[in-house]
Symmetry: C2
Subunit: 209 residues, 2 copies
DNA sequence: AGTATAAGCGGACAATGATCCACTTGTCAA
DNA sequence: TTGACAAGTGGATCATTGTCCGCTTATACT
């Protein structure tokens, strides 16, 4: 999930060497063209063919690199995802004395702010047809990593509150509620603010005694 | 939401008269062809053009009648939806002494059994591109009616349990969890049975004191 | 029965997602 | 520098979704 124009260790260097110079240049041009078109017209309105034309590559080249618009969006936000998990890690380290419920709220807050900042690209990832097949959806690295975090927190909450809830199930339902379709429905149709969505999700998943 | 080949009241009769005989015949042939192809190949694998060819109508005719495969699937299950709400109404009348939590569980049980019986068509409705636009999704008549039922139950639970949860929000999240993508993920990826999904949803939405 | 008219038709066509094969090009070893 | 070869290319093509317009047909009225 690292940017391939960032050199961070030896295995990254050897990976760069495997990509031909023309291919690397094409990929950069694709990303730049996509970013430009997405900013101008919005992710949903831009077609893959438009991106290919703008990047001056053929459709075959574009699809060899990215199977779908969703994969392209994912490449565009992968640095932001890294930053998100850095922020979460920092938050957890600075607030390790908080209860698991408080930490859950803090993490959800960070995620919702991330979602607000990168709304269209995240939607582009989640709504893309190739990441949308019935069985494989919801299994992006982002999903898996967040899910793991949430499961651990719910387990901790079970331990401190002497409850026996199914953490995996709850994490899945919570992440479903934070997906583009559901989240945007709450915002645009129900007119909830991000803060209200956060509060309501906590009210649902956190026991108050 | 009534079958247009069922005559139940005057307004239905006048609606039938407005449809030309050839159009009504074409519509029947479309529905029959779709049902046949869906049973043979599965909803997701069948294209609208295949349905048009099988029904011996042109693509323009098919799309004039149904904007998308989702609308076609909806027409195919509309009688089952009526039946579902009849069953729910009967259940509620026969069990009006149950607590709201018990009734919620009963209703969810009926809905999940309905979903199991008509899994592919429901998925066809929910995953169709024209019912899937960001703003309009989750607003089918089925969604609205179920949502209303759930809101009333949650309100009742708030009253009897002296809680103050947001019923609209909870109904939305619950229905999101019961959507095709989420439900199939629980079944096929997490390997939960329908009964387990029901139990876990009740554990999340019903307070146990 | 004849006529008017609006509903309805189909298929050519466009847009988009996506594939694949003959050709091109970059890289590395000699 | 040259040659081999594998990575990479683009665009023709296909499948699907979806539109639209000139033509046809059903229906109601006289």
């Amino acid at each position: 999930m690292l940017g391939s124009d960032e050199i961070v260790n030896g295995s990254e260097i050897s990976q760069i060497r495997l990509e031909r110079r023309d291919a690397a240049e094409n990929r950069q041009r694709i990303l730049y063209a996509a970013l430009k078109l997405f900013e101008q017209y919005g992710v949903e309105q831009v077609s893959m063919n438009q991106i290919a034309n703008e990047a001056l590559v053929g459709p075959g080249t574009l699809y060899r690199r990215y199977r779908s618009k969703g994969e392209l969006c994912m490449d565009l936000i992968k640095d932001n995802i890294v930053q998100l998990f850095d922020d979460i890690e920092t938050y957890l380290r600075d607030n390790c004395s908080f209860t698991p419920s408080q930490r859950l709220k803090g993490i959800l807050n960070l995620f919702i702010r991330f979602r607000e900042r990168k709304a269209q690209l995240i939607t582009g990832v989640e709504e893309s047809s190739s990441t949308n097949s019935l069985k494989s959806r919801m299994r992006s690295p982002l999903y898996d990593e967040l899910h793991q975090l949430l499961v651990e927190l719910f387990d901790e909450m079970n331990a401190t509150e002497r409850t026996n809830f199914n953490s995996v199930f709850r994490a899945d339902i919570l992440l479903t509620a934070l997906r583009s379709d559901s989240y945007l429905f709450q915002k645009d149709v129900r007119n909830y603010s991000p803060e209200m969505i956060l509060e309501q999700l906590c009210a649902l998943f956190i026991l108050h005694k």
